[in-house]
């Protein structure tokens, strides 16, 4: 996606992360970027600079909990949703779907108006 796409992405990052975690249960940062990349066929690339601040924010808000596991001589931090995080995920996804619907209406040319001319 072009740089302008990043602008749209910024507001939906939390939704994306929460949604992925509802599906996969337990994920670590790199895994999240990879699964976003795979599912969008490389259209959306999450950089670490965008992802980790959001993860830490969600953790601070009490929507995620973490556990560190040692893997290959380094610490890997796994994120899991809390019950509150689960609710927030459902809420955010439905909010976003509504938003996309509304945007579709907004972007479609209105046929009734063109007839009126």
């Amino acid at each position: 996606m072009e740089p302008s796409g990043n602008e749209f992405l910024r507001g939906t990052l939390k939704t994306i992360v929460l949604k992925l975690l509802t599906e996969r249960g337990r994920m670590y940062g790199y895994e999240i970027t990879q699964s976003v990349k795979e599912r969008t066929q490389g259209e959306v690339i999450l950089t670490f600079g965008a992802l980790y601040p959001v993860l830490h924010k969600l953790q601070q808000e009490g929507l995620l909990i973490t556990e560190s596991v040692e893997v290959d001589g380094r610490l890997r931090k796994y994120y899991t949703l809390t019950p509150r995080g689960n609710e927030a995920a459902i809420q955010k996804v439905s909010d976003f779907e509504r938003f996309v619907e509304v945007m579709k209406h907004l972007l479609q040319p209105a046929p009734a108006l063109s007839l009126g001319q």
């Binding site: 950089t47 670490f48 965008a50 601040p53 560190s68 290959d72 001589g73 380094r74």
Partner: protein, 174 residues
């Protein structure tokens, strides 16, 4: 899948430190970059090339962006701001463990103890001089009382300073 050796991980660690990575993110980013290197090695690149590629992507600009978004996302909330003092705000994204934060936090207290010590010492000196010029020493006189009060002030302040010092050393050692 190819695994990185401790030395190779250490190279990445140094790269992160050079770019001033926040301690809260260090372990995670290390794992992230290591995964990326492993990914490139898995598709067939030698370690050096993979490392170069990852370091190129994790450029100073990328770290700058990370710091910026981190500060926007994790700034103090309204509620925290109401309870925070100026030190908390100034040191919000700075290294608190370095020592300056503690120094500032304890500044008032240290100042008070220093004042107590000075006042105590002056009181003791004055009573000493007074009794010298009078040529006799009596604990039950006014100067004797001042001496005792000064001594108590001084030793109290000194004692708390020493105690705090020991506590601090213990905290750092931990």
């Amino acid at each position: 899948m190819e695994k990185l050796s401790p030395q190779q991980i250490d190279t990445l660690h140094r790269h992160l430190l050079r770019n001033g990575t926040d301690e809260a993110l260090l372990e995670e980013l290390l794992d992230h970059l290591a995964c990326e290197v492993e990914h490139y090695m898995w598709i067939g690149l030698p370690f050096e090339t993979a490392l170069e590629k990852v370091q190129l992507e994790a450029s100073p600009k990328a770290f700058k962006y990370l710091r910026k978004t981190y500060q926007i996302e994790l700034t103090l909330s309204e509620k925290q701001l109401q309870q925070a003092d100026l030190d908390d705000i100034v040191f919000q994204f700075r290294n608190k463990a370095y020592g300056a934060y503690d120094l500032r936090q304890e500044y008032r207290y240290s100042l008070l103890m220093a004042m107590l010590m000075t006042v105590g010492l002056v009181m003791m000196m004055m009573s000493l001089l007074a009794s010298f010029s009078a040529g006799k020493w009596n604990y039950l006189s006014v100067w004797g009382a001042i001496w005792t009060a000064g001594l108590i002030c001084f030793s109290y302040a000194l004692g708390t300073c020493v105690r705090q010092n020991i506590q601090q050393k213990y905290r750092i050692a931990r």
